[in-house]
Symmetry: C2
Subunit: 282 residues, 2 copies
């Protein structure tokens, strides 16, 4: 578990400073709970502050109050759009069992609840040790079949008003997204490599951000949307290196769609599996 | 806590009485919140009272306190095993927006929180009307390719100690599950028809139960498990008739597995899509 930070997070608009941008800007202040976060304008997508980034703040706060180190499943409801500025993160320890602990965290801006997240924490390494040799293993899908990252496209994303997340993260698709050139493919799927631009290696703390950090694949069918709920399963500690990502939407209907997202690490292990429900904007 | 029902639900072990068993036994008493439920031993799976049934109780309670009629996404964490008896259901209205309201409900037994559920409610029919003609529609998968229900197997499930859910629900698989005859297939997938035995038609209130009401498909790889978290997307009001169900698990690893579940109605519309994270029992 990380220890509470004495120093505040970076100022809005300031440079990353030494070390990881993500670590600096998700560091919670205060002896908490409640904790204080300073949300900058450096993690924004099309709809304001990225939901996955706010979920990472909530998950980080829960890591400080629960007795197990690793989130294994996190579910967040997005109640209002997020915005840069000082945020409070409140936590509740719901139940502590022998191998699993449950907690709830909320992120507040200006006294209004923006995100409510519930999570189960455990020790993933211990769980894997307990399971080894006693529990069956099964893998029904393979990692994305991408060329090596160096041979993939280095997407220079068209500057989109207010979108800064793409300055923090690097994306290397095998095939150029159609929507980006104004020609949606009609196929709401994508496979690409992803990593932090500043060289920070992936870990469990970053995965709630990363599953929500790519452009929604419904752009390929001409839809834009806003996330209502996002559930992330954290399946293993990621190995260092590029992450292979797969995003797909199977059902756009009745004004809603789901998006599934998988992240596989450089060793070919599935490390995160997420699904969100989003409201199509009309 | 509010008083138990003036008109109590069915006693454990009693017959269904007139009308739907599910409606009678999910009826909440009290002027609530909090509400009171009388959980019978008639909705139990291998691990005690079915999680989906308890989720249906929580979702029903939220329907009474939120200003929109339809759950669109519900996420539940299972903190402790459920057991038959008097339960309290507490609710919190988290946020009411113009088209979406958020709430949280907990189910308690003997003063201990057993299930915590968070949900977003809306008016699904209005949402579909708003989207019609303005939002793209896309379907990337098809309903299960099952023979008509009358031509499927009428599984007479082997009596499993304590399992009563199979007396309430009828399952008609296209192919007999391997695990049931002691020959797990190695393929953790299943497709089958499902309906209430007493003729009750499906609706949104029943879907949180139904997505969790079939045997876990990991039995086909020799694993048993207990659910930690279950998220259900409710995508449309189901048409009357048999429901076509598809369950699949893609990743059993590190002591955990996910299970995805789809329910398609008799008109071929996807009405529910769920995913759960479960801990493999070793």
């Amino acid at each position: 578990m990380s220890e509470p930070a004495a120093e505040p997070a970076a100022e809005p608009g300031s440079g990353p400073g030494p070390g990881s941008e993500f670590d600096a800007e998700t560091r919670l202040a205060g002896d908490g709970p409640p904790f204080t976060a300073r949300i900058t304008d450096r993690w924004s997508g099309l709809a304001g502050v990225n939901g996955g980034f706010m979920l990472a703040l909530c998950t980080g706060a829960l890591g400080q109050v629960l007795p197990f180190p690793d989130p294994v499943v996190v579910s967040a409801f997005f109640l209002r759009p997020g915005s840069p500025g000082i945020a409070q993160v409140t936590t509740e320890v719901v139940r502590v069992g022998k191998t699993t602990a449950f907690g709830q965290a909320s992120l507040w801006r200006d006294g209004r609840e923006v995100v409510r997240a519930t999570a189960a924490f455990t020790d993933l390494s211990l769980a894997a040790e307990r399971a080894a040799g006693r529990s069956p293993a099964y893998t029904g899908t393979a990692p994305p079949a991408l060329p090596p990252a160096d041979e993939c496209l280095t997407a220079a994303p068209a500057p989109l008003a207010g979108v800064t997340l793409t300055d923090r993260l690097e994306y290397r698709p095998g095939v150029a997204p159609g929507w980006m050139t104004g020609q949606p493919s009609g196929d709401p799927t994508a496979e690409f490599w992803m990593r932090f631009r500043d060289g920070r290696e992936p870990d469990l703390a970053a995965l709630p951000l990363l599953v929500d950090a790519a452009a929604p694949v419904v752009l390929e069918v001409g839809a834009a949307s806003t996330t209502i709920e996002l559930t992330v399963h954290l399946r293993a500690h990621p190995a260092p290196g590029w992450l292979a990502c797969r995003a797909l939407t199977r059902h756009v209907a009745g004004g809603y769609h789901e998006e599934d997202f998988e992240i596989w690490d450089s060793a070919g292990t599935l490390v995160a599996q997420s699904r969100q429900l989003a409201l199509v904007l009309t």
